[in-house]
């Protein structure tokens, strides 16, 4: 739109939107799923595909979704399955959907609801798939509980395996599933990060003083994770010493809303915030070098942790962010006004 924008813009979303997800299981195309957030209109899920030369975003499918979508995750092993969390007024729900066979027509066929995760008594926050492969379990998090589901897609059955309540004092708002350990999950509480072991459903540890909005495990290195926080920006943590963050990055001018590691180059971190920007950071995880021991006095001399680029061509807060697993140099961002922008970070990847 303005300036020297390098991004490819998809303007197909007609309403406001918060959620975008990479279709991980689609090995043939670079595609994303985006869901809208409209209170009064019929909401849509768009299957967006990057055309092979990488110059255009095409709407591959448009599906009506009954309610406004607050969370959307794609199934990591089946390109046609995804999950949403939705509300309407006081009602809320979470479902796993299957995209119907597209027979050349893209004019809004009905989504097929595989299962509905309807055991929740609080407002549902998010649904988590295990990110590292085929695993028939799901985690759903509402404000007070953590559910582990067993999903049987063929029989359209979902069964609660275990459940853990965090108590009335805490307020869960999100979480992440450890890609290195099927039994470890992190949950965002009011002012801390809590960690559970799914086998016992007991808390294993916690990071205090973390007002996190988003959390993600490092996809390559175990024990490392990154949080996006309202005030402290971006902080990198090592779970083995949770008292203090390993690193701090300034984050955004306002809240840092979402944070994503590049699936291939884990030192590249993408963050999006309510200051209508997307920032690309280079932050070497600790242990890879000895840079932690250096004092900040030296930091200007070492170009290691730095803001590589700031994408500012957004009109509104950016809540949705997704790297493409198929093309790790490509990411999609979704601002509140419903604009999907796909950018390439090829020039920032170390050769």
């Amino acid at each position: 739109m303005r300036g020297a924008s390098t991004g490819i813009v998809y303007g197909g979303l007609k309403y406001q939107a918060r959620c975008i997800a990479d279709v991980k299981a689609d090995t043939d195309h670079t595609s994303f799923l985006a869901g809208t957030l409209s209170l009064k209109e019929e909401n849509e899920v768009h299957l967006i595909r990057l055309s092979p030369p990488g110059s255009e975003l095409v709407c591959e499918g448009l599906f009506y979704h009954p309610n406004e979508i607050w969370d959307l995750k794609s199934c990591p092993f089946n390109p046609r399955i995804f999950s949403t969390v939705f509300t309407f007024g006081e009602t809320y729900g979470a479902s796993v959907w299957q995209i119907p066979e597209l027979n050349g027509q893209s004019n809004a066929p009905q989504l097929e609801q595989l299962v509905s995760l309807n055991e929740h008594t609080f407002k549902i926050k998010c649904v988590l798939w295990w990110p590292s492969g085929k695993y028939d379990k799901l985690i759903s998090i509402d404000e007070g509980n953590l559910f582990l589901w067993s999903i049987d897609a063929s029989n359209k059955m979902a069964k609660v395996i275990s459940q853990e309540s965090v108590g009335m004092l805490h307020n869960l708002s999100g979480g992440a599933w450890d890609p290195h350990d099927r039994n470890a999950v992190a949950g965002i509480c009011d002012s801390s990060l809590e960690f559970w072991d799914l086998r016992t459903m007991k808390k294993t540890s916690s990071i205090e003083q973390a007002h996190a909005r988003d959390v993600e495990y490092n996809p390559k290195k175990q024990h490392l994770l990154v949080t996006a926080e309202d005030v402290s920006g971006i902080r990198l943590w090592d779970l083995r010493r949770p008292k203090f963050p390993v690193k701090e990055l300034p984050g955004h001018a306002h809240w840092t809303w979402v944070i994503r590691h590049n699936p291939e180059y884990n030192e590249l971190i993408l963050s999006a915030g309510t200051d209508s920007t997307v920032n690309l950071w280079l932050a070497h995880p600790p242990g890879a070098d000895d840079s932690i021991s250096e004092s900040p006095v030296d930091s200007p001399k070492r170009p290691k942790d730095s803001l590589l680029n700031s994408y500012t061509d957004y009109e509104d807060s950016v809540y949705g962010l997704a790297w493409s697993t198929r093309e790790p140099s490509v990411f999609a961002s979704l601002s509140y006004d419903g604009r999907v922008v796909v950018e390439s970070v090829k020039s920032y990847i170390r050769k």
């Binding site: 209170l39 963050p245 306002h254 006095v297 807060s317 006004d337």
Partner: protein, 791 residues
């Protein structure tokens, strides 16, 4: 003429000897030698070959030349002939003279023989007479000689017999040297005949000598005796084969004891000085100077004692030349202990004047000692000691300053009462500023005293001191930065090792302190560093003991950079902390009620009061610390409290109402379009170090947060109206804080817009109801204010 004389000489030489170089003397020889090697054309060389010469001439010259040469040669030959003739004549004359002389000599010799014979007869008669006299006197002479020998012997015996009395006399007169000489003189006799004839005599004199020895020993031990006398006594004792070494060790032990007491004295004075230092309040300057004075007096007394020691040592050196090593050890030990005392004292806070005084006192002693005992290498030793003392002094000074700065910062932390809160931050800032600049300058002047002092010892350390001071400042400011971070609970950034991090928790940090730190960092960067840099350049330039490739130790640019970024960081941290606090407030406000079942708004929600209170608190803190911006806020000064003027912007109101009635979809598009055409509001501008900038940044952040919180909720009509009411109420008070009307309006509109979007049934409150509710709220808060001010 010269040439002629030379020629004559040469000719003579050739006449008297065949070899001209051997006979001709030095002058001729040197002249002749080149001729030997002369080319064939030189006519005077012995190897002259006429044929060669002839052919050479013919070759070289033309006819005219040859003719000329011929004339020359003819003249030359003629000359030579006359010379030869002259020589012959001269020789002949000489020969004739010689013959005449010989003839005369022959005549004189005749007649001498008779005289000689007469002389011989006379000498013979003299000899016979002398023999006669000799034989007649021989006997008498023998007798005289014998008598003389006997007399000598008798005199010696007399001496021996007299020896005891003589010795006694000597003892009385304290002429021990004579006594010893006499005794030693008579010693061989005593050894030979002591057992027989001179027994009594020997005993008596030995007794006397024992007395002498005793006296001499006493003399050595007595300090009042002049050194020369004592040294002499030792020499005498040595002559008497007395075991001097045991004496020496005894004396040295005595000296050692003496030194020990001296040291104890020092220790005591040092300790007492320390005691007084400890007991006296640091602020009590009068007392402190007393301490210094009292320091001086013992040094006065010990000056005497060190002088004595030096005298003693000098004496001992003379007395026992081989005792040097032990003495050196003793003295070095003494000074090590004394420097040790200073070193211990340096760990306390003290002025460089004190240090200088102490070092000077010791240095005087050292020079005194050095005169006596140069081999002890005391100056080098002192240099080493002074080096470590001064280094320690500089580093402790800096760590004290660091402590003072953090004290000044934290002193005012516990805020006792509301009333004093107003100025406490300002006080903290002013105090810490003063401490930083004044403390640094004081340190510099202290250090300059070190440099300016003309003490030889310190002059050698000059370069090192300059380097240390520069290093000290560099380290000081780096540490200060770390300390600041630690005070904010961010110590882990500077120091990732969790074991050393202060236990300051992030949530316990006073926000005011962060603001003070921000402003202090700016102050350090802009005022303190340049000033210190000037001072350093003025009096601490040079140095360079650490090599020029490293550059100067103090790099103001780097420090400035550190503090510039630190200032920005602290300012941002302050804003972040404040916004977080407000954010929590807002979060509670928006997550607690059920917005979908919200009841109709009856009054402005109380969270706005809390919000305004927070902002007011921010304002109080900010006004104490930060300067006012350039833009003055005169526009609102007259519109305080009037609600109608700003709220009743009819166009905006109309627009809002109109859009409400339209379909949501088109509303979305419209707002989208409106945004496109509207100037994009720059909300997140760079923060400046002004009151306005900080407050407006915080307010902007809060409003943005408000918008984000609204977006996360779903409202019914009443909920939307409540938001509308609260926001509408906030409009004026917020503008009291901030100058940037446009941004506030924009953000407030955004909030209402967000609520509008998230509302199931967005019908706004009627303007009259809105006005009424707001004015109720205002009058209510006014009443509260009045009642609180009355109470």
């Amino acid at each position: 003429m010269d040439e002629k004389a030379k020629r004559t000489r040469e000719l003579l030489a050739s006449f008297y000897s065949t070899d001209p170089s051997a006979g001709g003397g030095a002058g001729v020889g040197s002249a002749a030698s080149p001729r030997k090697m002369a080319s064939p054309d030189s006519i005077n060389s012995p190897s002259f070959d006429p044929d060669v010469y002839m052919s050479l001439l013919v070759q070289k010259l033309n006819l005219e030349g040859l003719l000329q040469k011929h004339v020359e040669m003819a003249a030359e030959i003629k000359n030579l002939d006359t010379d030869l003739q002259m020589l012959v004549y001269e020789n002949y004359n000489k020969f004739i003279n010689a013959t005449d002389t010989i003839k005369r000599m022959k005549n004189n010799i005749v007649g001498m023989e008779a005289n000689m014979e007469q002389l011989l007869a006379k000498i013979t008669s003299v000899q016979s007479k002398s023999d006669l006299v000799n034989t007649s006197l021989f006997e008498k002479r023998e007798h005289i000689e014998k008598l003389h020998r006997t007399r000598n012997l008798l005199r010696k015996v007399q001496f021996i017999y007299d020896l005891p009395t003589r010795l006694a006399k000597c003892i009385k007169a304290e002429a021990y040297a004579d006594a010893v000489r006499f005794f030693i003189g008579s010693k061989p006799i005593f050894e030979a005949y002591g057992d027989s004839s001179f027994q009594d005599c020997k005993r008596a004199s030995e007794e006397a000598i024992d007395l002498v020895i005793k006296n001499l020993q006493a003399k050595i031990y007595s300090d009042s005796e002049p050194i020369e006398a004592r040294a002499e006594a030792v020499v005498l004792l040595k002559q008497l084969n007395f075991p001097v070494d045991s004496l020496k060790t005894k004396l040295l032990e005595k000296l050692e004891d003496y030194l020990m007491t001296l040291q104890d004295e020092h220790k005591e004075t040092g300790a007492s000085a320390l005691d007084t230092l400890e007991t006296s309040e640091p602020s009590d300057i009068g007392k402190l100077s007393d301490t210094i004075l009292s320091l001086k007096t013992p040094t006065g007394t010990h000056m005497v004692s060190v002088g004595e020691v030096s005298k003693i040592i000098r004496a001992y050196l003379i007395i026992f030349p081989d005792s040097e090593r032990r003495l050196i050890e003793l003295i070095q030990e003494l000074f090590t202990k004394r420097y040790g005392i200073i070193e211990r004292r340096v760990k306390e806070r003290m002025t460089s004047a004190d240090i200088l005084k102490m070092i000077r006192v010791i240095w005087e002693d050292v020079t005194l000692m050095d005169e006596v005992l140069a081999e002890a290498a005391l100056p080098a030793f002192s240099l080493e000691a002074a080096r470590s003392i001064i280094r320690q002094f500089i580093s402790t000074s800096f760590s004290h300053l660091l402590l003072e700065v953090s004290e000044a910062l934290t002193k005012s932390q516990p805020m006792p009462k509301k009333g004093s809160e107003e100025s406490s931050l300002q006080n903290a800032l002013e105090d810490s500023k003063k401490v930083v600049i004044q403390g640094s300058l004081d340190l510099l002047s202290e250090f300059r005293q070190l440099l300016d002092d003309n003490l030889e010892l310190l002059a050698k350390l000059r370069d090192l001191i300059v380097d240390w001071v520069q290093e000290g400042f560099q380290g000081f400011f780096q540490k200060l930065d770390e300390r600041f971070l630690a005070l904010c609970g961010r110590g882990y950034i500077a120091n990732p090792d969790p074991s050393v991090i202060d236990a300051i928790q992030v949530d316990k940090v006073q926000t005011g302190l962060v603001l003070v730190l921000a402003q202090l960092s700016v102050f350090i960067e802009q005022i303190a560093i340049p000033k210190i840099m000037e001072e350093i350049a003025a009096s601490f330039s040079g140095g360079g003991a650490r090599g020029y490739e490293h550059g100067p130790a103090f790099v103001p640019g780097e420090i400035c950079r550190i503090f510039r970024s630190a200032g920005e960081r602290f300012l941002l941290l302050y804003i972040n902390m404040k916004t977080q606090k407000i954010s929590i407030l807002l979060k509670k406000r928006f997550t607690t009620p059920n917005w979908i079942k919200h009841k109709e708004p009856r009054e402005v929600h109380m969270f706005v009061d809390l919000l305004l209170q927070e902002l007011e608190a921010v304002g109080i803190e900010v006004r104490q610390i930060l300067p006012q911006g350039l833009v003055r806020r005169h526009r609102h000064s007259d519109s305080t409290g009037s609600t109608n003027s700003s709220r009743s912007n009819p166009t905006r109101e109309d627009k809002l109402t109109r859009t409400n009635t339209q379909r949501v979809r088109s509303q979305f598009l419209e707002s989208h379009l409106a945004k496109l055409f509207e100037q994009k509001m720059e909300i997140f501008t760079k923060v400046q170090y002004t009151q306005e900038s900080v407050i407006s940044t915080i307010i902007k952040f809060c409003l943005k947060s408000l918008q984000e919180f609204v977006r996360l909720q779903t409202f019914n009509r009443s909920g939307f109206q409540q938001i509308q009411l609260d926001i509408e109420f906030l409009k004026n008070p917020l503008k009291e804080f901030v100058d940037d009307d446009a941004a506030i309006d924009f953000l407030l509109k955004e909030v209402i817009g967000a609520a509008h979007e998230r509302c199931l049934d967005p019908i706004p409150l009627e303007a009259p109801i809105l006005d009424k509710l707001i004015s109720t709220k205002i009058s209510k808060s006014r009443e509260e204010n009045q009642s609180s001010s009355l109470a």
